[in-house]
């Protein structure tokens, strides 16, 4: 296997006494889109937070370009080029749409994304740039969250539950925009409950079940039966 961009090595995570992840190992190659599916409570969000440093781990459990980063703080991880579209969007409610984007770009990493290119991708964000971010509709807020992450010019973009709480038509349009977003030589990890959506855009799929990987493979190798068995554990 070629050198992975990002790997986790037997990643374990705890919330107090509760263990959420039991030795999860995944690899993401450069320019690869990996989907992580799993039911509620399978550990998907915990997994994302471990990668981004929101949950601290033993250093060697998360490896970025051969470097052990599991012990870094979230802001240090962000500087490496790992950006997240968090679950529930987590927009900065007292800032305008544009200010939210500016915060995303405040590390000053070089790359294709700027205020202008993000606003070209989502023209509504230019039109409504002075509106408080949370005054937008759910779908538009998700665009702000995605745009804000792009502004960081990351090498890998993590999407945590992008379709949660959004209307199906909005989900559809966001998934249609994904190739344009990820196309620029970027890798991505997509965490989803909607299996079909996740499988349709990804190069590889991992299924998490109760903190362990229950299935992995290329979308065309996985049968519907295998996925539901791995998903529900039946």
């Amino acid at each position: 296997m070629p050198d992975a961009l990002l790997s986790t090595r037997a990643l374990v995570a705890h919330y107090g006494d509760f263990q959420a992840l039991f030795g999860v190992s995944i690899d993401v190659q450069p320019e690869e889109v990996v989907a992580i599916i799993g039911a509620n409570g399978a550990g998907k969000t915990t997994f994302m937070r471990s990668i981004t440093g929101l949950i601290r781990n033993r250093p060697e459990m998360v490896v970025w370009k051969g470097q052990a980063i599991g012990g870094l703080r979230a802001d240090q991880v962000a500087h490496l080029g790992i950006a997240m579209v968090p679950e529930g969007r987590q927009l900065f409610q007292s800032l305008s749409v544009e200010e939210n984007l500016i915060i995303g770009g405040q590390m000053g990493r070089k790359g294709p994304w700027s205020l202008k290119t993000v606003q070209d991708l989502f023209p509504i964000l230019k039109e409504r740039r002075h509106v408080p971010a949370t005054a937008l509709s759910g779908g538009q807020q998700q665009m702000v969250a995605i745009g804000r992450a792009l502004m960081a010019n990351p090498e890998i973009l993590l999407f945590d539950e992008i379709s949660l709480g959004l209307a199906p038509i909005v989900i559809k349009s966001i998934y249609e925009a994904l190739p344009a977003i990820i196309g620029e030589g970027m890798s991505a990890i997509i965490v989803e409950q909607d299996i079909a959506k996740a499988v349709s855009v990804s190069d590889r799929v991992y299924c998490l079940q109760e903190g362990r990987i229950s299935l992995q493979g290329r979308p065309d190798e996985l049968t519907r039966e295998a996925i539901s068995a791995a998903y529900f554990g039946v």
Partner: protein, 340 residues
């Protein structure tokens, strides 16, 4: 939507904020001239209001913007006051020189304090700050050169050397208090308009997201804490320069320097720059009209605080802003048509 590229510009000011700037300048001019039109008692009251305004704005920055809910800011008020006395009495410094130095020392002492209490979160942080303030009070009560538990007065010679006459000295302390309030407002305003201000607001809204975009939360909060401590200590020095007497109980009073200050900020509107100004006016109106009632006055303060928290949780200014979109200190950026 197509617009010509140079017909619009980004501006932070609005009509209301420009009117407020003009009105503010006029009020400031009027206040600077107070020694010529106001009586001695009025000037004392105004000075006290300015110093409370400073404390309230600083606490608001700490709690309302940086999310550091401290109930121990009296540590720095008292520390600043004691530093003024110590520098004047032992080092023979003029009080005017001792005030900024007291502020600097306050900021320096805040560094180890921050390292200690930043390990605590939420309610534990609040209690931790209070404990620190008590440690300060007990420590200063041990210093017999500064009068120990019963305190000390600023020597007459030092007071006399400040100005040629009593009225001149009173005018000087008045102007210092006014200057302090203006400096505090200016520093906070500039901080919030800067990149740091954007980061602070982001942290307040979502720590998780702010961290994920490379904002070092600890460093941002640390900077605010130390800056606030320094300015609080300077304010404390001025408070006790006006009182001319200091004792541990007065200097580190949680009621005077934290409870009333929180009242002011909560009533006015936490997390807004205008809130503390409104809060100070309301607080002093209540105090000046009701203080003859003794403890009943404190009960009324409590009732007012509860009523505002229930009916207008964003404070008087926060509620007004929500209804009208008014903003006197323009922090948000907006688009305006360029005048050609």
């Amino acid at each position: 939507m197509t617009t010509l590229p140079n017909t619009y510009a980004i501006s932070r000011s609005s009509r209301a904020s420009r009117i407020a700037a003009v009105a503010g300048t006029l009020v400031l001019a009027l206040l600077i001239a107070a020694p010529w039109w106001a009586g001695r008692a009025d000037m004392r009251l105004l000075s006290e209001m300015f110093l409370y305004l400073s404390l309230a704005c600083l606490w608001n920055l700490l709690a309302g913007y940086a999310g550091l809910v401290s109930v121990g800011q009296q540590a720095f008020v008292g520390f600043g006051g004691y530093m003024l006395f110590a520098l004047a009495i032992f080092a023979g410094l003029s009080p005017l020189a001792a005030i900024p130095l007291a502020g600097l020392l306050g900021a320096i002492v805040a560094v180890p304090v921050a390292l200690l209490i930043f390990r605590l979160r939420g309610a534990y942080f609040a209690i931790g700050t209070w404990v620190i303030a008590e440690v300060f009070r007990l420590s200063f009560a041990q210093v017999s050169a500064l009068g120990g538990g019963s305190g000390t007065s600023l020597p007459v010679a030092i007071v006399r050397a400040m100005a040629s006459s009593r009225s001149m000295r009173e005018a000087t302390t008045y102007w210092l208090a006014l200057a302090m309030a203006v400096i505090v407002l200016a520093v906070i305003y500039l901080l919030l308009r800067s990149r740091n201000g954007l980061a602070l607001t982001a942290i307040r809204d979502s720590e998780l997201a702010a961290q994920s975009f490379g904002i070092d939360i600890w460093r941002n909060k640390f900077v605010v804490y130390v800056l606030t401590a320094g300015l609080t200590a300077m304010t404390g020095a001025l408070i006790f320069l006006q009182k001319l007497r200091i004792s541990p109980d007065a200097a580190f009073s949680v009621n005077d320097w934290t409870a009333f200050v929180i009242f002011i900020v909560v009533i006015g509107g936490i997390g807004t720059l205008e809130g503390p100004i409104i809060g100070v006016i309301v607080f002093f109106l209540l105090r000046e009209t009701l203080s003859d009632l003794g403890t009943t006055y404190l009960l009324i303060l409590g009732v007012v605080a509860i009523a505002v928290m229930l009916k207008a949780p964003k404070g008087l200014w926060g509620t007004l802003k929500e209804r009208t979109g008014l903003e006197l200190f323009p922090l948000a950026r907006r688009v305006v048509k360029k005048k050609n």
